[in-house]
């Protein structure tokens, strides 16, 4: 299922809205990301296709805002607040998620079982 450059990407996505939590000076979301176009895609444990250089959720902290909002580990983040996350470097992704003047981030995430769930619910 390797992505061919230039062709549109289609995926079943779930909208997740995370409200940032204030901890002292920082606003935290409560999860960790991995991946990016400057990283080694072969070491990603969550991707189906080992040449996929997207941003993946590697860890969700217990009771944090991300878990409350319904984010799971292994999710691939496709968009953050409308900005594309499929072709960004690791640092760009981090910056998009940790903007100090935003309290809410709206993510579009995809995971493998979403498509099956949707198809089952349509029958």
């Amino acid at each position: 299922m390797a992505h061919i450059a230039g062709l549109p990407v289609t995926a079943v996505v779930q909208r997740i809205e995370i409200h940032k939590l204030r901890q002292g000076e920082n606003l935290i979301l409560g999860f960790s990301i991995g991946g990016g176009i400057d990283q080694d895609p072969g070491q990603n444990p969550y991707s189906e296709d080992k040449s996929d250089k997207g941003i993946y959720v590697t860890r969700v902290s217990e009771g944090g805002p991300a878990e409350v909002a319904g984010l799971h580990t292994g999710d691939k983040i496709m968009q953050v607040n409308g900005w594309d996350m499929t072709m960004v470097t690791h640092d760009q992704a981090r910056k998009r998620l940790t903007k100090k003047n935003e309290d809410v981030v709206r993510l579009l995430v995809t995971r493998t079982n979403l498509e099956t769930v949707v198809r089952q619910s349509m029958q």
Partner: protein, 523 residues
């Protein structure tokens, strides 16, 4: 049980000569070894089906081994052969006479004289070619111009070069006497002979008989002869010296007594020449043959054989295979703890050697501190107690003598070094400013055979034993044995494999690298 045979006087004599030749190597007399074996095993007459003959005869040195004092009382009943056996001394004397006989040297001198005569003939031939016309029909000859005289000079120089080359190549002292003729050399001599004879024939028929007047032609003929001789000399170099330089075979030489092995690389040689090369390397590579080190395994082997006895109750039928099979099965069933003995004995021996070695090192170091080298100025100032190296060695030798003697006895090397040689070595080390460790080096490690004096070598006369003809070339899988009276060197030949080398080109610009990152950031 004392069983005295009627010929006991003779066996006294033969055993005594055996005892006096304890260095001696050969156990040619089966009677003697059988009697010795019978006496070793519990003083009863045994009729062993396979006679347990020790590999190298009696090797006990200086009475440290089991000196069997009871041999006089228990001799076997096989006395029929004792009348005709000769003692070791006689054998040694006879073989020595054979070695010094004139016959072998004659062969070598014959070859030398033939070669010398041929060389002289060949050298004088061009000169004869040039001189004979001048002598015989001088008036008929055309006058010789400058070209002719130039050819004279060239003949002279080429002959000189030929002479020098022949001297360098052939007039060297021979390294060894080989059993058969050296094939290449004989071939070359035959070739030269035929060549010169054909030139003489042509000269005699065409020039001498017709009394040719073209002197320049004759001179050119002589020059062509000398050129051809130079080319034959080149052929001789290639055949005799250069062909065997490229290594083609890896040759493994193993000593039969203790398994010491060395590998050599040889080129295309005949078996006898390869044997000579290996023997030359033997004296400088192999450690000196020490028969005292082999007694332990032989006594173990004797213990194995002495444990069981087979009695032949069916009369004089010789049921040898059945007997040996019975002995083997009985020995296999018996629980054998000799490995235990060997292990503890070796551990004990190692500990003893190390202890003695440490005492020796300390004693020698202390002895060396008593000596100080005097400088030139001091020599003039205090001429009192000045000693030369030999006296200095004699002065400090007693303090280390005991420790050294004990160490040599423990490592069974004491028969390789005499007191005289040790003192000489000590004087040598003192003269050359050597440290105690350098002095001890020749006693702590058994060195190559050349290091010791000739009567300790145990390896003087060699015999080449080979299944193939000794003038055959070496080949993969050839095995031959170089036998000496004490031991033998088993030589195996293996071919060096043909190496197929292919190339691979790597563009220097193709060395590119990329970082493998996998970072995780928490947001």
């Amino acid at each position: 049980m004392d069983t005295e045979s009627t010929y006991s006087e003779y066996s006294h004599y033969s055993s005594r000569s055996r005892g006096s030749h304890r260095h001696g190597e050969r156990s040619r007399d089966r009677h003697k070894s059988r009697s010795k074996d019978g006496s070793r095993s519990e003083k009863s007459v045994t009729i062993n089906a396979p006679p347990a003959e020790p590999l190298l005869g009696d090797e006990s040195i200086h009475g440290e081994e089991v000196q069997d004092d009871n041999w006089g009382e228990t001799t076997t009943a096989v006395t029929g052969t004792s009348e005709h056996s000769i003692s070791q001394e006689d054998i040694a004397r006879i073989s020595k006479d054979m070695e010094d006989s004139v016959g072998l040297d004659c062969k070598r001198y014959l070859g030398l004289t033939v070669a010398a005569v041929l060389g002289l003939l060949v050298f004088l031939t061009p000169i004869a070619f040039l001189i004979l016309p001048q002598v015989l029909w001088r008036d008929k000859l055309e006058p010789c111009g400058t070209a002719c005289e130039g050819l004279f000079i060239s003949v002279a120089f080429k002959l000189l070069i030929l002479l020098l080359g022949t001297w360098a190549l052939f007039f060297r002292p021979p390294r060894a006497g080989m059993p058969r003729v050296f094939v290449f050399r004989v071939l070359l001599m035959v070739l030269i002979f035929l060549f010169v004879v054909s030139y003489w024939l042509f000269y005699g028929v065409r020039i001498l008989e017709t009394k040719d007047s073209n002197y320049q032609g004759i001179v050119q003929y002589a020059v062509s002869l000398v050129d051809a001789l130079l080319f034959i000399h080149y052929l001789a170099i290639v055949l005799l010296e250069m062909r065997q330089l490229q290594p083609m075979f890896s040759v493994k030489a193993t000593r039969s007594t203790d398994g010491e092995t060395y590998f050599y690389s040889l080129g295309h040689l005949s078996i006898q020449r390869a044997a000579v090369v290996i023997l030359e390397n033997y004296y400088k590579d192999f450690s000196v043959h020490n028969p005292a080190l082999l007694t332990a395994s032989k006594s173990r082997a004797a213990k194995h054989m002495a444990g069981l006895k087979v009695y032949n109750v069916d009369g004089p039928e010789n049921n040898a295979p059945g007997q040996s099979r019975a002995m083997i099965t009985a020995a296999a069933r018996r629980r054998d703890t000799s490995h235990n003995d060997l292990y503890y004995e070796e551990a004990d021996h190692d500990r003893r050697v190390k202890k003695r070695k440490s005492r020796l090192v300390v004693a020698v170091e202390e002895a060396f501190t008593h000596i100080k080298r005097m400088q030139e100025e001091e020599q003039k100032k205090a001429p009192g107690e000045v000693m030369d190296p030999r006296e200095a060695a004699q002065a400090i030798f007693p303090s280390m003598a005991r420790a050294l003697q004990k160490y040599l006895r423990t490592t069974r090397q004491h028969h390789c070094h005499t007191m005289e040689s040790i003192q000489q070595h000590l004087a040598f080390c003192i003269t050359n400013n050597m440290t105690p460790k350098a002095f001890l080096e020749s006693y702590l490690n058994p060195g190559p055979t050349l290091q010791y004096s000739q009567n300790r070598w145990f390896a003087r006369q060699w015999t080449l034993v080979s299944e193939k003809a000794v003038t055959n070339g070496l080949n993969d899988g050839v095995v031959f044995v170089l036998k000496c009276t004490d031991f033998s060197l088993v030589v195996t030949v293996k071919k060096i494999p043909f190496i197929k080398l292919s190339e691979e080109f790597i563009d220097p610009k193709s060395h590119k690298f990329v970082l493998r990152l996998q970072s995780e950031t928490s947001v």
